[in-house]
């Protein structure tokens, strides 16, 4: 619905009996929360109901809108129902339920059918849209799409227009501050707010969890007298919101960016529920929005309130002292290796350090080689990973995929503030250079599965040991929790269960939480250490399948995909067997751009990074910043 339609709807509802409507169906939406504040939609709904109108809400949650409806109907989740859709080219796609509805929900399709006296089930409705031929239909279900159903492309002609003139886009607005609203990078407009995984996933840039904040540049903050991590009041006319400030390197001056989707009062036990006295997570900034300019508010007054507010940030940046800043700047080029196209053309191995060539001679002792030494067990595989920084965008999908695959607990805001988040693969984000125009670097870091793992040597009970195929295995039921391994890990990828983070699953009524867990992965107890396992359960699954076929054959390349690899939209992560000469990971390791992080420690990580090649368009402002950081 466009802005004017929404306005018209709200106005119509306010008329009550005199208006055009008697009943209002709200299907899978939450307008009482997420509509711009100037529509005063809640007031409109209540006015409508007060005048005898009936409001019916169909939704996954009994949310804010349900609270203002006469009827709330449980909706079936997309995984519980039949659905169809079209792809970008018009191809028909099908969606099948994975499970019977857990809470007797109905889909939008079914409800619409029911209201329009269509007696068909959702399945029958979807079936009706598909090919009539039974075999073709089964094929479509198998493939997930109806082959050949794409729309015919239109023949269009285009002619070049003169380039529009925009003036100076970087100019600071004259009248007060401009506020830009964006959907939260993880919970969107708030519809995913009650998912702990997403609340705790650090924002790729701010590294903020469990909150939204008013992001602004250092110069703007200084001119407004605002400090990082303190409350500010943003007001426009009679409407105002209070949010914490977050000083963001590289943010444009004169404006503030805030994520939507937070501050919910009827989201659930994770994101806030007034009925059960659960505080909202983050701040609702919808009241500041206007329906005719829903993503931008201009001329906003910003008033510093000075009250400190704890932000659960997983990686501090500017909140550190001069020494820390210097130390970081000094070591960054050795951690996240980057080069320009010219540098790469001149020396493709520019990312290598001397330590990358050390090899076996670097040891004080003679290393046994399983390939030649009869005393050693001869493994069939040598698992390794490679992460290409050139294609990594820092989106953090790997983190969530890993969390889902490996039953990683959500620990909550107070624990994140203490530095106890549990992610096995984290996205390190660094800013380098001038805070006003920094260079941003992202680097996914999981267990590097070092061949000479420092964690293994120090465990007093041998709870973390090396497998013959080179995995750094964590034996949960042997771990007594000395945490020495974590101290000795230079990558700090180990995670400790400081509390019993899974106790909720044992509470009556929470059986569904257990269903979220991957049955192939142990749910860890309190007091044990955990970390990336290279998705060992997937390796074993592939091994069993391969052995069933032929006992002596090796697992073919590409059979095993780790969860992070599978979810990476740019294919940055490859995993496989380094003994297989044709494997992708072997090729990646042999790529001249490959390097081991902290190679000089001689831990011999099995994960190599491929250095990032930067090639910004010379006309872009980023190119200048790039130049300044690289050669400045």
């Amino acid at each position: 619905m466009c802005a004017s339609e929404l306005k018209a709807l709200a106005d119509e509802l306010r008329k009550g009996q005199d208006g055009a409507y008697r009943n209002l169906l709200l299907l899978d939406c939450n307008p009482a929360y997420d509509l711009p504040g100037d529509l005063e939609f809640v007031g409109a709904l209540e006015g409508f109901r007060g005048a005898g109108g009936t409001v019916i809400h169909l939704g996954l949650y009994r949310d804010e809108t349900a609270g203002h409806a006469d009827w709330h109907l449980p909706m079936a989740h997309a995984f519980e129902t039949w659905a169809d859709g079209t792809a970008w080219d018009g191809t028909m796609t099908t969606g099948q339920p994975l499970i019977d509805p857990l809470y007797a929900g109905r889909s939008v399709l079914e409800m619409l059918g029911w209201w329009t006296k269509d007696e068909r089930s959702a399945k029958e409705q979807v079936r009706a849209g598909g090919p009539a031929d039974g075999k073709a239909w089964r094929r479509a279900l198998h493939d997930g799409l109806v082959a050949g159903s794409a729309a015919a492309p239109l023949q269009v002609s285009a002619k070049a227009l003169p380039a529009p003139q925009f003036g100076d886009l970087s100019a600071t607005p004259a009248d007060g501050i401009e506020v830009r609203f964006m959907p939260d990078r993880h919970i969107g407009d708030g519809r995913w707010a009650n998912l702990g995984w997403l609340q705790e996933l650090p924002d790729p840039m701010t590294k903020l969890t469990w909150d939204n904040a008013a992001m602004m540049s250092f110069a703007t903050a200084a001119s407004l007298g605002v400090e990082h991590g303190t409350m500010v009041r943003l007001s426009k006319g009679a409407r105002s919101v209070e949010v914490p400030a977050y000083l963001m390197p590289g943010h444009a001056d004169g404006c503030v960016t805030i994520a939507l989707g937070h501050g919910r009062t009827a989201a659930g036990h994770v994101a806030g529920l007034d009925d059960d006295e659960i505080e909202p997570v983050g701040f609702d900034v919808n009241p500041l929005r206007a329906h005719d300019s829903a993503s931008l508010a201009t001329g906003v007054a910003v008033e510093p309130l000075g009250k400190p507010y704890p932000l659960a940030v997983t990686q501090d940046h500017f909140a550190i002292d001069e020494i820390g800043t210097q130390g970081r700047e000094q070591r960054l080029p050795n951690l996240v290796k980057e080069g320009s196209v010219a540098e790469w053309q001149q020396e493709p191995r520019f990312a290598k350090s001397a330590a990358d060539y050390w090899g076996k001679d670097s040891n004080l002792w003679q290393e046994l080689d399983p390939e030649t030494d009869d005393r050693l067990y001869k493994p069939k595989h040598k698992w390794g990973m490679a992460i290409d920084l050139s294609s990594c965008t820092g989106c953090s999908a790997c983190t969530i995929a890993c969390q889902a695959e490996n039953n990683i607990p959500v620990v909550g805001k107070d624990q994140v503030i203490k530095g106890r988040e549990m992610h096995w693969i984290r996205m390190d984000r660094y800013f380098a250079g001038d805070p006003a125009a920094p260079k941003v670097m992202s680097q996914p870091v999981a267990c590097q599965h070092c061949e000479m793992a420092p964690c293994e040597q120090v465990c007093p009970v041998a709870a973390t040991v090396h497998s013959s195929e080179g995995l750094n295995d964590m034996v949960y039921n042997r771990c007594i929790g000395t945490r020495y391994c974590s101290n000795n890990c230079p990558y700090k990828v180990r995670r400790f269960n400081f509390f019993d983070y899974n106790e909720d699953a044992d509470q009556p009524g929470n059986e569904v939480m257990k269903m979220a867990a991957n049955p192939e992965v142990t749910v860890r107890a309190r007091g044990v250490m955990e970390k990336c396992s290279f998705c060992v359960q997937r390796i074993e699954r592939a091994r069993i399948a391969t052995r069933n076929e032929d006992r002596d054959s090796r697992i073919p390349d590409g059979t095993i995909e780790t969860a992070c690899q599978q979810s990476c939209p740019t294919g940055s992560i490859v995993f496989g067997d380094l003994m297989d000469e044709g494997s992708q990971v072997r090729k990646a390791h042999e790529n001249p751009r490959s390097y081991a992080m902290l190679a000089e420690l001689n831990n011999k990580p099995r994960n190599l990074f491929l250095a990032r090649i930067r090639n910004p368009h010379p006309a872009m402002p980023a190119a200048a910043a790039e130049e300044a950081v690289t050669h400045g």
Binding site: G419, R420, Q457, C459, P460, R483, Y484, N487, F496
Partner: protein
């Protein structure tokens, strides 16, 4: 009495030629026995004892409550986090192990070097050692995530057919600390046997006769027994001496063998041992100064003892100071970026205050002991000893926390703050220590009666005042 000598007034003699006698006043064998035994035999302890004991027991209760809370809830009740996986519990462990060093040093090393002045304070400091090691041993045990399987660190045959990992310095700790504890306990107890027999012989109640009789192991004081006793004592002293060096060296390996910048340094073993002796002597002073007053032991623990300990504190304090300086030098000289950063960060980073508390307490404040006036001012010495205790706790804090909170990858850097449970657990460990120590003061001879008699002029039949310096 007939065999009493008049001891020359010390003030008239040059101390460098005739050191002050080790037993002051006009004491003879009988009066020494009387002084020490009367404490044990008194129907009521001094009022101060009840006050201190009461506070100590209350703190012990706090410790118990904290441990119950910890075990029932999880290690998260402390401030530990990522990357500071070791926080106060390990700091406290190293602190208490350090305290536990002076005892064996005084009883074994000084014995082998024939330092007669040890006799006045050795019982005392050995007891302190044992109680400190008990406090120390508690911390690694409770700091693990799953205390109910802590026995896996011992090489006990088990149904899992699993040995512990002998490559782990934590395992070396288990052996080092338990060996040290057993030998110290044995040494202490053996030294107690003749004195326990003395109390048994003087006992006026059945219960006393029974209990002191039981623990004096039928000691009669025959020549043969004394002969065996002296031999065994010498052997145990020789066995215990290497332990003085080994325990804290092994504790330092926990850090030194790690890769972490700020931990990975070869200077740690000697530096830790010096620091341990330093803190151990400081704790002996902290305990001895009030105790000698409370129990009237001024004649047995004399100013000369206190002065000697002040000198050792000054000497070891300078060794520790040298180590601090050398760490910085090596960090710079090695050219290792991470190492260099770790040390600059220690002194000027977010924990600068902890570093400078450490330096002021451990290096600067003991310098006052160059002055004899300072060494003989009991109030000042007592305050200084407290300073050293504080400084040495901070040294362990600085090593553990400042190294961990900023290691290799800046993305993982995180500030560590303790919780109230951390604070109360540390206080509670003092409760445990003082409860045991106060019980010791009340029920066992605080000074080794038979050994003190050895260094009295009366023990030397051909006594001449000039021979007093042997003592």
């Amino acid at each position: 009495m007939a065999d009493s000598f008049t001891v020359p007034a010390a003030a008239t003699q040059d101390e460098r030629v005739f050191p002050a006698p080790l037993v002051a006043g006009t004491n003879d064998f009988a009066s020494v026995t009387e002084t020490v035994c009367s404490i044990v035999e008194a129907p009521r302890a001094p009022k101060a004892w009840y006050v201190i004991f009461g506070i100590a027991v209350a703190l012990l209760g706090v410790l118990g409550a904290m441990i119950v809370y910890l075990v029932s809830t999880g290690v998260g009740v402390w401030g530990n986090n990522q990357p500071v996986a070791w926080g106060w519990p390990i700091v406290n462990f190293v602190f208490w192990v350090g305290i536990g060093h002076a005892g064996t040093l005084i009883s074994a090393v000084l014995f082998l070097f024939r330092q007669g002045w040890r006799t006045g304070i050795n019982r005392f400091s050995e007891a302190m050692t044992i109680f400190a090691v008990i406090c120390a041993g508690m911390f690694p045990a409770i700091h693990v995530g799953r205390i109910w399987v802590i026995w896996w660190v011992f090489p006990i045959p088990n149904q899992m057919s699993m040995w512990p990992n002998f490559r782990s310095p934590l395992l070396w700790d288990v052996f080092a600390v338990s060996t040290y504890f057993s030998v110290s306990l044995l040494f202490w107890y053996m030294g107690l046997v003749p004195d326990l027999a003395t109390i048994r012989d003087r006992a006026k109640t059945k219960a006393r006769r029974f209990w002191y009789g039981l623990f004096s192991l039928g000691w009669t004081g025959s020549n043969r027994q004394w002969h065996r006793y002296e031999r065994a004592y010498l052997i145990l002293a020789a066995l215990a001496t290497p332990l003085v060096l080994s325990v804290h060296s092994v504790v330092s390996f926990d850090f030194a063998t790690s890769q972490l910048p700020g931990w990975h340094t070869t200077i740690f073993p000697p530096y830790f041992v010096a620091g341990a002796i330093f803190s151990g002597f400081a704790m002996v002073l902290t305990l001895a100064i009030p105790a000698r007053k409370m129990f009237g032991l001024e004649d047995l623990i004399t100013m000369r003892h206190i002065e000697n300990m002040c000198k050792i504190i000054m000497a070891t304090g300078m060794m520790v100071g040298y180590a601090y300086a050398m760490e910085f030098f090596m960090a710079w000289y090695s050219g290792n970026t991470y190492e260099g950063f770790a040390f600059v960060n220690r002194a000027f980073g977010p924990y600068w205050w902890a570093y400078w508390i450490m330096v002021s307490c451990n290096v600067i404040s003991p310098q006052i002991f160059w002055s004899k006036k300072a060494r003989t001012n009991l109030t000042l010495v007592f305050i200084m000893s407290i300073f050293v205790n504080i400084g040495m706790w901070f040294e362990r804090f600085v090593i553990t926390v400042t190294s961990l909170n900023r290691d290799f990858l800046p993305s993982s850097w995180h500030y560590f703050s303790p919780t109230w449970v951390d604070v109360l657990t540390l206080l509670g460990s003092f409760g445990l220590f003082f409860t045991l120590f106060m019980l010791f003061c009340r029920w066992l001879p605080q000074v080794a009666i038979s050994e003190v008699k050895n260094v009295m002029p009366q023990a030397h039949p051909h006594h001449h005042p000039s021979e007093g310096k042997e003592g």
